[in-house]
Amino acid sequence: MKVLVPVKRVIDYNVKVRVKADNTGVDLSNVKMAMNPFCEIAVEEAVRLKEKGVASEVVVVSIGPKAAQEQIRTALALGADRGIHVETDEIVQSLTAAKILKAVVDKEEPQLVIVGKQSIDTDNNQTGQMLAALCGYPQGTFASEVNVDGDKVEVTREIDGGNQVVSLNLPAVITTDLRLNEPRYASLPNIMKAKKKPIENTSAADLGVELKASLTTVKVEPPPTRQAGIKVGSVAELVEKLKNEAKVV
């Protein structure tokens, strides 16, 4: 069984985000970039399926600038077998990303696509669901457990108030939640080995997908700041303030 894992290059989650002074977006010049954390979880899950003998090949795909090759290499160092780089300097919105991935799915015919539930830059939480819709595949979103069984996959989903288990016909799309697994670190030998693994370079045009954007960013602003209040000296003073000043208890 072939598993396809889309990964995204995003700002490193440790970097302090700064909004540009002209309010056109977030300042990404000279900041550390990394693989989106939810995508790391997706790569890890695919590699574990391979180690268990369930998956035969793990293919990673990334849509992004030349530098997105770094994230593909990272995934290869974590155990993926080969990469596909859909190179573009444009900002690709979710629906277009899903259409590009659909074209890759049509070519590669994976039985399972494992994708991060959201990227930590745009926080959209859309691409996996959109890809599933375009392919006509079922979707197991916000997965905390994945069990492949014959021509079906059982997915435990994190939903409001608890968990839901669904059974999906393969091929299927799974989106990862935080608790699905803890991604490993790449070892030095594996990083060296990854350099020899193949990465195919392609483009949206090669895949027959037009880069369209129906959403326009009007402006990006820093969040409103909340003023720090006062420090109280004791529990008694806190209770007094909550009762008489804030009037919330």
Binding site: V26, R226, A228, V248
Partner: protein, 309 residues
């Protein structure tokens, strides 16, 4: 212009977040139609018909919709939604699961977790874990949107008298099935709609110590939440997580106990009316956003607070 609101419910009762979505729909303008799709959900449709400002309720009652499977819901909503200018649903796990699928089927973008309506085509949302606020304009004929409940007041649950119209369309994609559901049973209010939320962080040290927070919550009629660090450490269930990747809350009173105040967590609670922080580290960033800060050992302060209320 007309707005289709997809109701969030469990086939028995309407989830309160639907009321906030109705308010967002009213701010967009035009007729507000609510779709209640489920199995044996007649009572929910009746409830939706009473919401002030709703002009019509569509009821799709069929076994195919019983468990809100996105594959079946997607087909249904994409078919019905063609006649509307906007399709809205709460940014619940259902809304996040279903609406991107609907948008792709309609070949339009989806706008996630709006917190404000600027106009019928322009909306405001948080990006980068709440570190930036984006105003986004859509050129699509149909705008498919999930709504963050904390950004909008709840519409009145009573006062309307909309007609309920049955929808006969049955869409069973036949590619997915519900196996089981494990929902935490609790007498406490639901986290996202509770008037008071007490949240614990890594400072609680273990899961047993969350009992201190439950005692306080019961005294105040509140719900208990947690930070991602506390959830990852196994102190409590994942659905208690408050933050950008968890639940977004905006109660009247938010008490942060043993929480340092990572931006990821703050993104989920800074819209609370009054924030109290109890932490023994006086340098903790949480104090920068709290109205009342108490530098104290939580193991002494929390029981004392519970006793004095």
């Amino acid at each position: 212009m007309s707005v289709l609101v997809i109701a969030d419910h469990d086939n028995a009762v309407l989830k309160p977040a639907t009321l906030n979505v109705v308010t967002a729909a009213q701010q967009i303008g035009g007729d507000v139609v609510v779709l209640v799709a489920g199995e044996g959900c007649g009572a929910v449709a009746e409830e939706a018909a009473k919401i002030a400002g709703v002009s019509k309720v569509l009821a799709a009652d069929n076994a195919a919709y019983g468990h809100h499977l996105a594959e079946n819901f997607g087909l249904l909503i994409a078919e019905l939604g063609k006649d509307y200018s906007h399709i809205l649903m709460s940014a619940s796990t259902s809304g996040k699961d279903i609406l991107p699928r609907v948008a792709a089927l309609l070949d339009v973008a989806q706008i996630s977790e709006i917190i404000k309506v600027e106009s019928a085509d322009t909306f405001v949302r948080a990006i980068y874990a709440g570190n930036a606020i984006e105003t986004v304009q859509s050129a699509d004929a149909i705008k498919v949107i999930t709504v963050r409940g904390t950004g909008f007041d709840a519409a009145a649950a009573e006062g309307g008298s909309a007609a309920v119209e049955a929808v006969d369309a049955v869409h069973d994609a036949g590619i997915s099935a519900h196996v089981k559901e494990e929902l935490a049973k609790s007498d406490r209010p639901e986290l996202t709609s509770a008037p008071v939320v007490i949240s614990g962080g890594r400072g609680l040290q273990n899961g047993d110590n969350f009992e201190l927070l439950y005692n306080l919550a019961d005294k105040l009629g509140g719900a208990v939440g947690a930070t991602r660090a506390a959830v990852d450490a196994g102190f409590c269930a994942n659905d208690m997580q408050v933050g950008q990747t968890g639940k977004i809350v905006a109660p009247q009173l938010y008490i942060a106990v043993g929480i340092s105040g990572a931006i990821q967590h703050l993104a989920g609670m800074t819209d609370s009316k009054v924030i109290v922080a109890i932490n023994k580290d006086e340098e903790a960033p949480i104090f920068q956003v709290s109205d009342y800060g108490l530098v104290a050992d939580l193991f002494e302060a929390v029981p004392e607070l519970t006793d004095s209320l």
